[in-house]
Symmetry: C3
């Protein structure tokens, strides 16, 4: 339904990008802004909800492939151009058959967890700048990033899935438990509730929450700073942190399989149907107050 544009504001390093084929379309969903050869910005711009439709998958894949293969890139920042929404969950109103039948990626994972694993393991430093709601896949993308900074007033993170009868599929059980410990990770995934910016910081869901007015400046300065350092040194240092802290792929795979299984269960399908009837996946109270919504 929506179409997609990936813009390239600089002409460096774009030769190997399939994204060009999208360049003439009019409604951008994800914008890639190569602010410098060392520092890129990826902006989700799919109003009104930044909901994750099936057509987003190849776009994200393309961008992550570009990130992985560029030789000069050091830092990438993910943010949103949509008021109140960083990036949210799967669009259950869309045709999901295409998505289910996608071939697995190189590690044998479904493309979604596969690209998250690639982002985490990439030698490029990834930073999520979270303003608005990051729920479901939006939270999973943020968790796959190397660092997360949130607006204290405007960020809300959540894994709402259990409230819809779904096991989250993009790795939050593996990642949250390593970030915040078992007790808080279980609370986040099993309560399926909204986690505002300040609680997200106290729990370690994000590195820090900052006053909204300071967030952009802080992330810009950090990204620019890291991008001024030596790429090989960044790579080697990140790799050593990863050895100690990244979940093994098998945990991500197991989570994905549990997600797929949950999606096929009749009680889950009934829950999702009931939620859709009450306004889920549409602009309005359901998505604006998703934590309350799934708990009702």
């Amino acid at each position: 339904m929506t179409t997609a544009t990936i813009e390239h504001e600089s002409d460096e390093g774009t030769a190997n990008m399939k994204a060009r084929s999208y360049a003439e379309t009019k409604t951008p969903q994800i914008r890639l802004d190569k602010r410098s050869p060392e520092c890129w910005r990826v902006t989700f711009d799919h109003p009104p909800l930044n909901i994750f439709g099936p057509e987003m998958l190849p776009l994200v894949d393309e961008i992550i492939t570009a990130i992985e293969t560029d030789e000069r890139l050091k830092v990438v920042v993910f943010d949103s151009a949509v008021e109140d929404f960083f990036l949210i969950h799967l669009d259950f109103l869309a045709k999901l058959d295409d998505m289910a039948h996608l071939p697995p990626g190189p590690t044998g994972l479904h493309p979604w967890p596969e690209m998250l694993v690639h982002l985490s393991r990439s030698s490029v430093v990834s930073i999520a700048l979270i303003r608005g709601r990051a729920t479901g896949m939006g939270s999973e993308l943020a968790l796959a990033c190397d660092m997360r900074f949130a607006s204290r007033e405007k960020a809300i993170l959540s894994q709402f899935e259990v409230g819809a009868g779904l096991v989250p599929g993009g790795g939050p059980m593996a990642r949250l438990s390593r970030l915040m410990g078992r007790g808080r990770a279980l609370e986040v995934v099993l309560s399926a509730d909204d986690v505002p910016g300040d609680l997200a910081e106290r729990y370690g869901y994000v590195n820090r929450s900052l006053p909204d007015a300071d967030l952009d400046g802080f992330v810009d300065a950090l990204a620019t700073r890291i991008a001024s350092f030596d790429k090989q040194t960044i790579m080697d240092t990140k790799r050593l942190v990863d050895v100690a802290s990244l979940p093994p792929d098998i945990e991500i795979e197991s989570g994905w399989n549990a997600c797929v299984a949950s999606m096929g269960r009749p009680p889950t399908q009934q829950r999702i149907k009931a939620l859709l009837e009450r306004g889920f996946c549409k602009p309005g109270d359901a998505e604006n107050r998703l934590g309350d919504f799934v708990g009702r």
Copy 2:
């Protein structure tokens, strides 16, 4: 000395409980309140200290077995009916011979660590609502729960054991180090000191500390919320968090063995004897200010 009652306020799911044999006795130690088929409440009610006498062990075992085997139960909350005490340590004034000679459970562990391991691995979500002192076995039970919420004003957690010459036996070395990192875990177990509610939150000992007036409402709402979700989805999601975050049983076993060894050492027996002479295990300053007491 004390006797025990397990009450059943609803009649569902009780057929297979051995607890009924206690139903006519008069002084409850642990109350089981089946508020709904999906959500139970377990209340420690053994005044004046909620001290852990040997007779508590089969009662806790029975309740954990009921939790594990009930087919509809989704959430269980542990709390206390005793002012100032959630649940504390072993009663060193009781005959402990019986306890030492208990046969091991199915995983080969002594019954105490065995039942804690079962509680953690159970598909039921367990929440500790901590008001008053949770020390020794009380802290260990709380740590074996999936989540912990504490009264900011009235909760005090601690592993006092090292102060008495004992290695803690119910797994806090394994569990605290995963919740709060090595430095804070070492401080908690080696200082053997009191950890009040707000510090417990900063350290990750509990999920959150809440104003005392808000604690019951918060935990009730969370328990009810989770209990409204799909049981299979809860189970699968919890299991995946556990893969990443639960200690292996061998660490719990090793800790228990170190505890038993420490209990047999003459310097430890002298320390415990001296503490008992000064009021340990009796109502009063020793138990009200246990952190100060063992440090003097």
Copy 3:
């Protein structure tokens, strides 16, 4: 250039210390104060920067060996006698050839990571009392300690190395990721920026930051308290925390090798040369504001 004294204020347990050979020299770099047989204090006193010259290495080694082999010692506290500096990084103005050619220690590691591993695994409880800057090796020593307490106003921790083109060599990738989770550990090492006391507490870099006026009293009381407990019980309890929380030696070795490799790369040598020309390793703005300095 500088010389070294290790002082012994009590005469117990010094028989096996090689340190005596230094006893007549005049400019102390590291002071060992045996406040009691159970509780020692190690004070870095190498003004004006407490910079880590190659001559410090055998002194630290000697002290850690003394700590490891003393039979009565239970607690050691590391602090600084130099205003504004706890202990900082390698002195790049010194002849570093000697340091590079040191024979490996018993586990096959270079002496620096080797002695940090020994400190962590020692049965003695080690506490870093951090006032002033702990950067590079100073941060690494603090991280190898069992606990860290920082002055809220005067402590600054950092791993500045990536800013100089270096991979940190003393294990912070392995240790920080276990203390604070992947996101914050990546921020600390890749931003290479200053972390003041209060942020260090929020991130779990230190156990707690305390008002400067309270810091000494707090650490003294904690050290004295733990030193009053049973040594065997302390050892067994610490060992069980370590099982769950210490990085394997191979991660430390891999980090050291990456550090050595980075030091040999021309871009790194150019960065260090440029930093030295701007005042690095000398008293003044470079070291007083190292985070800003390497980011410029």
